[in-house]
Symmetry: C3
Subunit: 300 residues, 3 copies
């Protein structure tokens, strides 16, 4: 599988596995190990976490499994995130969901992630959401310390608009290496609001969360879903895809921004779909058939 | 007539002639030659094309005429565009209008434009529309090759928002020399969305398409059209304009961004209006009377 | 009181006093002197004006008072603005409110402000509004001349969006030192449109006009006002504030962008509230309780 060089010391696999719902899968440690091994056999070596996934439980489930077979860590890249403070039974003192990008919280959150994940370093740490209360100089200090201590190799962001990206970039010592955004054939917002442009301007490869748009495309009876589904089916036939998943992944993979889709499934066949998609190719005409169906009108 | 230096080797006349509707004018080659000569006598030396105008026919009509009097080329600047693939009987395989800014298409499109226009070089090539599927590195390669081969002197864009402009600018070897945008007293969008700001920030002079807003201002009975028309008439009287066209052109010409209006008419008197407007001047107060009438409320 | 270093030769007090409504207060010169002295005793040394305040009268009222005690000028910073031309009985020839950022107008306006304020220099001159008809090169020339003549120490803007800020910044000789914007717990626009991000990117401290949102929060019976008021009251109790004003000021002061609120009151107790707020502190949780109440939904 293709690898994307994010920085001198970090390469991601083009397809990333997302552990967002790991807690829901009710897997034993052995099953998680098997899932990781299956991913790695397919060439998926990058695993996406966040401190808050599964109400703060997913990292630890992954870490427990990793402890069963520590050698897996060597060929794996771990992404995790910080900065959101969830309403949770674990934090009964909170009465509002909020963000915390203070130096203290970032460092404490990473240290907790390291313990949870049972690893000595994070490959890439992302600030989970743009924080209206951010002190970018403090974030930069946290990044500097974590880098010097060897706890995090590189830093990036998630869901950042261009102005937020520029703001933080102006303060950090080294370039941010990715922006993880919601982007798919059904979620075109970042094609139009400058976010994807900023990635291509700065030559950073974005990660795509919800690359299948949460699966609604497969079920919805809305006019838009029906229209897009029809085009996906047609093009799937033309390019030799065996499922709509594959067409949706192929559509993202074909884009020159080197989008890295995150597959958030515990089922091998769904993960396989994303990997299959890396071998498909579609014409520019086909790409725009999907884009146009999603927009609901032709390009200007 | 004033000339605008876009780059060391390209100067445009302040008023540009647009050949968008050349195919509709049903002119003989001799009539096109006459039109070109009349423009040039008025100081209009820059002619604006696109591969797709007239369903891919306008460039060739112009080129045929130019062949009747090749010496005209020496004192003329030719602009053309590429990147849109129209639905057209000429391309029956297309089922959707789309964009193609691949290196291969850009180069092939320019080579076809050169044949159509019967010229050896394009003064300025524009990417016609921002392409959500653009690979800016590939566009830059195409530009580099076309420049080295002497086929295109300079490059620009059309209808690009600031983020798209920055994205492509970060990849090309030399600065983009213009952005051709829809801007007029009736189309104020680019005053507010950063596009005109970006032109003034980067010191590039924009070209204005539809500077008369498609002529609707002369006919519409909408509240807005009536309101603006009233103000245009009043100010036309005050500044010595002999038509509303002249006031609309003068309003654009007065703007410090050095906007270059494109006159898309085959009729000498309409072209003359734009040229007359270069000799008019209005006060800042008058400029804002028109701006305010168009907005429908006073400035904040 | 904390001071903010805007440039090598200009420091502002963290709380700024605004003279917007000075003409409405019907104060004698002696009363204005007393107000200034009370502010300065509280550490408020920066006074915010504009040519147009009070229908072009406030600067002169302040200047008259200052003449009574010229020594006050030494420890005071004066901000004023130019660029708006109001509809006013004083300018009967105007039929529309408009902007004028020509070199001639900027210089003439400053010279008038100097006479009105009875001072020899302005600490910081702001362009009052982004001007769609701005010639940034001309603005830069005006700034250069005013700086060389010692009439203005530094320059900034007001109500500028990021694209407008970048546009002017690309032309002026020295960095713009502030952007005075409408920002408060009830006016969140600039948190989302990139304006505050641009301030933090360029490390300039913004000034906040209408930091109490015009006081509507204290009176309105709208759902939003009631909701926010409830949260302000609760947090006011928690942090030891003695009025809602203090909580609103504290919310701005707590933000890492080093926002400088402008207090536009002639009453000592209202001014005292802002000063008191500099000694309050709230947690990030509390900051987001207010932010969330104002948005009406939790953060994403």
């Amino acid at each position: 599988m293709e690898q994307i060089q994010l920085a001198e010391n970090v390469k991601f696999s083009r397809i990333v596995h997302g552990l967002w719902r790991l807690a829901e899968w009710n897997m034993t440690d052995a099953e998680v190990v098997q899932l990781i091994e299956q991913c790695m056999e397919l060439g998926i070596t990058t695993f996406d976490h966040a401190d808050i996934y599964g109400d703060y439980t997913c990292e630890a489930l992954f870490g427990q499994a990793l402890r069963q077979k520590p050698s897996l860590r060597e060929n794996m890249q771990i992404v995790t995130k910080c900065g959101i403070k969830l309403l949770s039974d674990k934090y009964p003192e909170r009465t509002v969901k909020y963000y915390d990008t203070s130096k203290e919280h970032i460092i404490r959150s990473v240290e907790q992630s390291l313990r949870n994940l049972q690893t000595e370093y994070i490959d890439v740490l992302l600030i989970h959401r743009p924080d209206p209360f951010m002190n970018p100089a403090e974030v930069a200090e946290a990044f500097r310390q974590l880098r010097q201590e060897g706890k995090v190799l590189q830093f990036g962001v998630s869901n950042f608009l261009p102005s937020q990206f520029d703001m933080l970039s102006a303060h950090v010592d080294e370039p941010l290496v990715t922006n993880q955004i919601e982007i798919s054939a059904l979620q075109l917002e970042h094609f139009g609001n400058g976010t994807l442009d900023k990635c291509q301007e700065t030559r950073i490869a974005p990660m795509a969360w919800s690359p299948l748009a949460g699966g609604s495309i497969f079920r919805d009876s809305s006019e838009r879903a029906v229209r897009v589904r029809g085009v996906l089916e047609k093009i799937g036939g033309e390019i030799g895809a065996t499922s709509l998943d594959e067409v949706l992944y192929a559509w993202l993979l074909q884009h020159p921004a080197r989008i890295m889709p995150i597959v958030g499934s515990g089922k091998l066949e769904r993960i396989q779909s994303a990997v299959n998609a890396t071998k498909l190719s579609m014409t520019t005409h086909q790409w725009f058939e999907i884009y146009t169906a999603s927009m609901g009108h032709e390009v200007p």
